[in-house]
Amino acid sequence: MIVPLTAYLVVGAILFAIAVYTVVAQRSAVMVLMGIELLLNAVGLNIVAFWRFVRPDDYSAQIFTIFIITIGAVEMAIGLGIMMMIYRQRRTVQVDKFTELRG
């Protein structure tokens, strides 16, 4: 059985929507970071799907995807590092509390 392209795209879109919701609605910084990771993965799923069904002989999409995964790992490391520092200082990771730079 061959899963059609549309199914991948629908799954990607659902993932993206969940991720957007997570980034916007979650109050915890850790959850926001997870939403961002989910955004990346949704996009990565889309790219892989398009490669597989549109240009299976062009490997640049795979390379791109590996880049995205790498960037996501790095981003997570940095983001969690920042969160650890903030937590140590403030004893909280609720993003609504961080309003010092408000205009």
Binding site: V20, V23, V24, A25, V32, V95, D96, F98, T99, E100, L101, R102, G103
Partner: protein, 619 residues
Amino acid sequence: MSGLLIAVPVLPLLAGPLSLLFGSRLPWRGGELIVAATALSLAALMLLMGEHQVLDGTWFESGGFRLTVGLELDGLTWFAAAVVAGVSFFVGLYSVGYMTDERDRPRFFAELALFIGAMLTLVLASSLVLLFAAWETVSIASYLLIGFRYEEEGARAAATKAFLMTRLGDVGFLLGWLLVLLVLGTTDIRTLLSSVEQARLSPRMLTAIALLMFLAAIGKSAQLPLTAWLPDAMVAPTPVSALIHSATMVAAGVYLLLRLYPLFATAPGALDAVFWVGSATALFSALVATGEMDLKRVLAWSTSSHLGEMMLAIGLGGPLAAALQFATHASFKSALFLSAGMVDKHTGTRDLRRLRGLGHVLPVTTLAFLLGALSLAGFQPFFFTSSDEVIVATALSSGSAAAYLMLGVIFLSGVYIARAGIAVFAGDKPEAGSGPGERNLPMLIGMMALAIAAALGSLVIAAVPQVLPFGTEPETPWAWRLFVILAAIAGLAVGGWHAWRYHAAPAIAWLPGAMERALAAATAFPVQIVFAFARGVARLEHWVDAIARGTATAVWALAMDTDRLERRDFGAGGDRLAQAFASLGERLRRLETGKLYLYTLGLFVWSLVVVVGGLAFGF
């Protein structure tokens, strides 16, 4: 030894400011400074006798022009400087006594010192430009001293008249030395004279320079037609008249001709002009002097006449005779002036009609006047040659007409001096005068010293020819010596008899007075023109000033308007703009809530809008 030479003019010049600064604290109010400075100058000159020194410096060079300043000591300049310093010393001594009752004595002595220093610079200068500067400085000093009693009637007018009329001649001097500079590229007098000797200048150029220089001499030495300022200058204090307006400054014109004599000797046309102007002045002024009613004015006209005699001698090619007359005249005329000052001091008037019999009251003054008058008339003790005789001898060398003219002038000299002397000193003893008499020692010393110098003028004549670079004096024939003495005796007799009989009435009818008035009218005319011109310039200047003032006011008003605009309109506009920005910023800052979800939501919405918009419009 060059320091000595510099000290000669510099000492009096230094004494002037010192007198202004400290004079009011000194017992003689600065007079002692003048006496000391002139005495030192005189001593320095005596030490320098017979030496030849040149101190030259370049003032500046520009293009091909080289302006030098410096002092030169040779026979002629030493001689003139010695005369100036000697007369200055004795007159300075006299003025210490004369000015006792005056206010403002430090100023007087400072001005006198300025004059003496400038005059010594003038005679010693080695460069035309320095000579000219000194020439102008003595003019200023003369102006200041004539106007010394500036609150007195006529003093200011006389000062201005003297200044303006000598200025007319000074223009000639200025043009003259500029011409020399143009032709030779230097103002050095020795260079000028040596290039004259080497005939490097064209005859026309020589004549032009000589005539311009002679114009200066006319103004300074009160020759026709610029004579009238000299009698008016007699409002000055008497020592000033003695020093400046008889012995030294007015003789500067003659001195200039002597200094540049080699130049004149090569310009026969200029020499002719000198002769004619000189002889006309000698005769005219002597005539006017016989009719004057003011003792000092008689002497002033007599000064003008004697300067005319010197000019006449130079015009005839006899610089030696002129130089001798310069020296003897300086002594006898200042002696006469100083005795006139005594008379003035004692009686309070110089009017011949109101003076008489002063011989009983002022014996020493009478003696000084007598010595001076005899010297003036051409008498010398022991029948030494008088300077008048030397002039006559010079005149004889170029025909006897000029010699007869000289005899006439000598006769007239006798007439006016005898008239003045007899009218003032002879006659009955006056009613008890209230004057100070002859108790003032400095005045007596100064006066008598000069009178004795006048009486011994013949010794000067015997000694001087070796000093001066003008050769030896011509031999006077015995017959002519006799003529001279006879003319003098006749003049003295006529004048004396006339004064004895008619007191102060004009000795030769009404003619002299009329002549004086005519000359005064004629010479007042150019002065009036100058005044009118000056007034015109002043009015023009007033207009220009008004225009400038109007412009300034307009600019100021414009500036004030701009300022108001700036403050009220631009400034307010700027404020309002800034406020608008500020309130905009206030409104904008409400967008910055600090809520992360709003930011991210905005980001996504914006991306959605861009993507959907892009798709919808087909980008």
